[in-house]
Amino acid sequence: MTPQAATVVVDHALVQNYVEASEIGDRSDKILLDQLRAGHPGAFEQLVAKQASRLINLAYRLVGNRAEAEEIAQEGFLRLHRSLDSFRGDCSLSSYLYRIVSRLAIDHLRREKLRRKLFFFRRQEDDVDPVDMAADTGASPRDNLQSKETGKRLLAALDLLSARQRAVFVLRHQEGLPLKEIAATLGLEEGTVKTHLHRAVRALRTELKDLQEDRS
């Protein structure tokens, strides 16, 4: 087997794991939803606790700020709660939440970009940096430092992308969603998603070129 083929096998295995994990998660989500509709106390809190980490991380990668990410994730859960009666379960609960949070984050990014243009607003540099709080304890200090640096640079580079390019890149690259699902999540054609992904990767590679040259 060629090394290239091995990589693709690994990617396919990841897709398979993603599908299996989704199926198990979907069943437990359905149970929680049924309990919630039946008025079971604490069912909503349990559901939120189960999905919180994924959604906050998704929002964080989309907007690049923890406090804003928590706000967006919270709004996503509240919208789910308000639409419980109309939620028919055509898609899985996690897909539904991904859709809401992605769209909220895109709206937020667009507003934020406009605000920055209008008021020359810059994010405060002395904010607590979540990248510093997200250290990988298993890695060596040098690797930790490098991955932190890459994380920071990547977050900064993501700011240069359009809201949709950023969302497509994050959903495919980091969240591992298939392109078809991303298209459904963002309400776009699959071809448009491919174009956004291609442009996002091209822009990020250009922006992070020096970092990659240093490593190689």
């Binding site: 290239q4 693709v8 604490g42 606790a49 932190k148 890459t150 920071k152």
Partner: protein
């Protein structure tokens, strides 16, 4: 569709290949091409390396933080939604004030009265000039009297 077995693979195909998004036939053709084309293989290795390094940071939520967040959201969900009645109330109040101020306005001026008022006002501005004219006339009279005297 491009024949990937014979042509140099474009970057978009390599990207889709990385993410496992190429159809089986395309994937096999691309693999065949990469095995025999050094240029494309180099391109592929570079792309693979750079994408592998693009790892976004993860926020680790400990159980306490997760519980606190879930409790906050659940509490917010129980809160009654803020009614928009105050907005309608505000609009109604503003309309009432506007209507009252219109009703309290002095009665409408008769047609044509407005223009005569403007002419009067213009005359008032020229009042000083009129007074000066009277003075000039009196000055002529005084000069005549002086000549006679």
């Amino acid at each position: 569709m491009k024949d990937l077995g014979t042509r140099h693979s474009c970057k978009e195909d390599l990207l889709l290949y990385y993410y496992g998004e190429l159809a089986d036939l395309q994937r096999r053709e691309l693999e065949k091409h990469l095995a025999g084309c050094e240029r494309c293989d180099n391109e592929w290795q570079q792309l693979r390396r750079s994408l592998k390094e693009m790892a976004l940071p993860t926020i680790e939520l400990d159980p306490v933080e997760t519980k606190r967040f879930a409790a906050r959201v659940a509490e917010r969900a129980q809160r009654p939604r803020r009614s928009k009645l105050w907005l309608w109330g505000g609009a109604l109040t503003a309309c009432s004030i506007l209507a009252l101020s219109l009703m309290a306005r002095p009665p409408e001026l008769a047609p044509g009265q407005g223009t005569s008022l403007v002419a009067d006002a213009a005359m008032v501005q020229d009042l000083d000039l009129l007074q000066n004219m009277e003075l000039l006339e009196e000055l002529d009279l005084l000069q005549g009297l002086e000549g006679q005297g």
